[in-house]
């Protein structure tokens, strides 16, 4: 439970750059500092050593992201490390490999989460990872030719995609010699997968022996799209479409924060408050959908709870539409501020939002009656889909999934941005590690978000009229200095949503990499459902609250 004491917890002792250099020692070939963190260049065959030393000796237990990219003369993998205890302490490990033979050591033995990351890097950029347990493509079909984010990729080339990846579920599948198992496809068109996810499942009776999430059915080339857009205006519409469950503004904030830090733009305080308020509205809408669909998954409730959740989302969407002009794809943030002020008449807008907040506690009670105190629901969710904190960290889980496993990690508090550190709210954590805890965390976060919005409304209401500055002065074309690199993250609805940008002196990013929280959360599914029953697979999937637009990008 949240105690309100977390704010006073002691961050671990800061590791200085000298100490880092000492840990890495002469394995560091050079320095390649990024705006957010010191960077050390290491040899491709030192990767595991360096990462495990950083993990064991310096406490960097969170492999936040792996960025792969190609330069004219080399490939590069960047491991962005952080600490769960204090995400402001960061370090980047840069691993260059040659153009002709891009082989680098796999980091999978040190961080489990590197598994999927390295598969993605191989898939899109074409770097091979030596010692990787499962070197397959992850987003694109197995038969794809070429690596689309490498420099010499020809997009016009024809491609052939097979349908056989779908094994026949009725065929006998002898997973192990002695047992008689069955192979089962869940998805990609399946109501419980929340979009187009394909889970290859091997069953022994009702028990799950093995699952393998097969993703990429919604790989919409988001990174390529962002690399083709200009910083100032053309990129902002895309974040709305990563996590499209109304979390648009939270995603936009990820891009806004990264690009603002890259180009050194100050955002006016008033705009920060509007951002904070609208982003939290998005969080409420997103968590409502998570709750509604979870109940749909767990006990097929298309009538009551699902519809109630959507009724409440409608209200939030109405408010957001008044503010931004769109119901779902807001495109409301601008670099250096927001697109426009609160709608006129202001009082009406503020009152409407207040009304919503006033009704919220009663609605939350209703949900508690219907959902969390429901016996069937409890039987289905308590002690199923266990995700131990250590495992969660190893897989890089963040957001409500991590907080449901007792990991006290929330970037809004730990790496403050916007107006969060001025406001009074708590980070919710639960120790249950099961599906139930994850649902509870989300429901209580809704209440915390409401608290934040209320404080923001008070501030906005009293803000002097002539100081309502919504936009900083930003040049029409933005051209950050060449070869500046930055990795920044915000707390999205599903967890840590990070963006890495490398600029090359033009008005478009040379590399734009998205760190998606759902991608990590989903990769932990395997651990959660091992040896559980198949209905628990569906429940676990629902409680992870993934959204495929963000998993596949």
């Amino acid at each position: 439970m949240s105690t309100g004491l977390e704010r006073q917890r002691q961050p671990p002792v800061e590791v200085t750059e000298e100490e880092l250099a000492a840990v890495i020692g002469d394995r560091a070939l050079a320095r390649d500092d990024h705006l957010n963190a010191p960077g050390f260049v290491v040899r491709p065959d030192d990767v595991q050593d360096v990462l495990s030393d950083l993990k064991e000796q310096a406490g960097f237990d969170h492999l936040s992201c792996l960025t792969a990219q190609q330069y004219e003369d080399r490939y590069e993998s960047i491991y962005h490390l952080k600490k769960y205890a204090d995400p402001t302490q960061e370090v980047s490990v840069v691993v260059p490999t040659s153009i002709d033979d891009p082989v680098s050591q796999s980091a999978e033995p040190v961080f489990r989460t590197a598994d999927w990351h390295e598969r993605e890097a191989f898939d899109l950029v074409g770097i091979d990872y030596e010692g990787h347990p499962d070197p397959r493509r992850i987003l694109l079909p197995e038969t794809w030719q070429g690596h689309p984010l490498s420099l010499d990729y020809d997009q016009e080339k024809p491609q052939i995609v097979t349908l056989t990846e779908h094994a026949n579920p009725i065929q006998p599948d002898h997973h192990k010699d002695e047992s008689d198992t069955m192979f089962l496809n869940v998805g990609p068109h399946h109501p419980a997968t929340h979009g187009v996810l394909h889970v290859k499942t091997v069953l022994d009776g009702e028990t799950i022996v093995d699952v393998d999430p097969d993703i990429g059915y919604l790989h919409r080339c988001e990174e390529q799209m962002c690399q083709q857009g200009t910083y100032r205006h053309q990129i902002m519409p895309y974040p709305d479409r990563w996590d499209y469950v109304s979390a648009g503004l939270l995603n936009e904030w990820a891009y806004a924060r990264t690009a603002e830090d890259l180009a050194d733009i100050e955002v006016p305080e008033y705009a920060q408050i509007i951002r904070t308020m609208s982003a939290e509205l998005c969080r409420i809408a997103s968590h409502m959908l998570a709750l509604g669909t979870f109940c749909l998954d767990v006990y097929g409730d298309f009538t009551a709870i699902f519809q109630y959740a959507f009724r409440d989302r409608e209200v939030v969407q109405d408010i957001l539409e008044d503010l931004t002009g769109q119901r779902l794809m807001f495109n409301y943030f601008r670099l250096g501020g927001v697109a426009w002020d609160l709608p006129e008449p202001r009082d009406e807008f503020i009152e409407k939002t207040r009304d919503f907040l006033d009704e919220l506690p009663a609605k939350v009670d209703e949900y508690n009656d219907l959902v969390t105190s429901n016996e069937i629901f409890q039987v289905r969710t308590i002690d199923t889909g266990i995700l131990e904190p250590e495992v969660a960290k190893d897989y890089g889980c963040t957001g409500p999934v991590a907080r449901g496993s007792g990991i006290d990690y929330d970037l809004r508090r730990d790496d403050p941005y916007g107006y969060y550190d001025e406001l009074d709210w708590d980070v919710i954590t639960m120790d249950g590690c099961d599906n139930y805890s994850r649902v509870l965390v989300r429901m209580q976060e809704v209440e915390e978000s409401a608290k934040i919005i209320e404080q923001c409304l008070d501030l906005l209401e009293d803000w002097p009229e002539d100081e309502r500055e919504i936009q900083a002065n930003v040049p029409r074309t933005l051209k950050p200095d060449a070869d500046t690199e930055i990795y920044r993250a915000v707390e999205g609805a599903k967890g840590e949503l990070g963006i890495y940008i490398r600029s090359d002196g033009t008005d478009k990013p040379a590399r734009f990499k998205i760190r998606s929280p759902c991608f990590h959360n989903l990769s932990a599914l395997e651990e959660m459902v091992q040896d559980e029953y198949i209905p628990d697979l569906i429940a676990s999937l629902g409680s992870l609250d993934i959204v495929l637009g963000e998993v596949d990008r």
């Binding site: 694109l140 079909p141 197995e142 038969t143 794809w144 030719q145 689309p148 990729y153 997009q155 016009e156 080339k157 024809p158 491609q159 052939i160 995609v161 097979t162 349908l163 056989t164 779908h166 990609p188 068109h189 399946h190 109501p191 929340h194 979009g195 187009v196 990429g216 059915y217 919604l218 790989h219 919409r220 080339c221 988001e222 390529q224 799209m225 083709q228 519409p237 895309y238 709305d240 479409r241 499209y244 469950v245 109304s246 959908l289 699902f306 519809q307 109630y308 959507f310 009724r311 989302r313 409608e314 969407q317 119901r327 779902l328 794809m329 495929l548 637009g549």
Partner: protein, 235 residues
């Protein structure tokens, strides 16, 4: 029915319901199964209409949608099913989870290369007659992702589409309008428009033996189903 106007004497009469009520509470023969319709037919319970006209009318008024979420547009699609917009008012509100029970498919989102063959398969599994509503810019042209290396430039490259609803995403009202237009078409017995369908599922062995096919020959069986994307020819 010979005339669209009900007989005045029947229309204005309250007798049937009164009779039913009476028969429930009173003595005498039980004619609770009486209805206005039945009385209208009298002793010969027949309607004269063209069978296919009747079928079209039925089809249009009872559409079973496929529960099919792809991308962002599906969120607005769910809102169309849910409270406030409630598409059930138009007899189209029960999403079926299995394609074999559905007759309308709303395609709500971006189709990418990996999903193309699957969507085709789902479409093929729906029983005839079947109809498709394309929801959002992505199903028209690929939408915001049109330039992506992996994005199919519109759902019509793969399956025929009856109604396009533009928008990114279309508002629920727009989707309802699209569904109503589809109902109108179905009731009038109109079939889907002529479309270009460049991408079909084929057996690998039937493909022309060009460089790419040669290269993949070791990985793919002759009789595996494949879809070949010729990106250069895409609009």
């Amino acid at each position: 029915m010979s005339s669209n106007n009900p007989k005045q004497s029947i229309h204005d009469s309250t007798a049937p319901s009164t009779d039913t009520r009476d028969s429930r509470i009173g003595e005498g023969p039980d004619d609770r199964f009486n209805s206005k319709l039945r009385e209208a037919f009298g002793s010969s319970p027949f309607i004269l209409t063209k069978f296919d006209k009747f079928m079209n009318w039925v089809r249009g008024n009872s559409m079973f949608m496929l529960q099919f979420g792809i991308a962002c547009c599906s969120i607005e699609m769910i809102h169309t099913y849910a409270i406030k917009h409630d598409i059930d008012r138009y007899g189209a509100g029960v999403p079926r989870a299995s394609p074999r029970q559905a007759d309308v498919m709303i395609v709500p989102g971006t189709i990418v290369s990996k999903f193309g063959p699957r969507m085709k398969r789902v479409y093929d599994q729906m029983p005839e007659p079947k109809f498709v509503v394309g929801m959002g810019s992505c199903t028209i042209s690929g939408g915001p992702f049109q330039e992506g290396y992996n994005v199919v430039k519109g759902a019509e490259e793969i399956i025929p589409i009856d109604i396009h609803v533009p928008g990114c995403p279309p508002r629920p009202e727009a989707l309802i309008y699209g569904v109503l237009k589809l109902q109108e078409r179905i009731q009038n017995g109109e079939s889907s428009p002529v479309v270009v369908k460049p991408y079909e599922l084929e057996q690998f062995g039937d493909l022309e033996r060009d460089e790419l096919v040669q290269k993949l020959a070791d990985d793919i069986d002759e009789d595996d189903l494949v879809m070949r994307y010729n990106w250069a020819d895409s609009p």
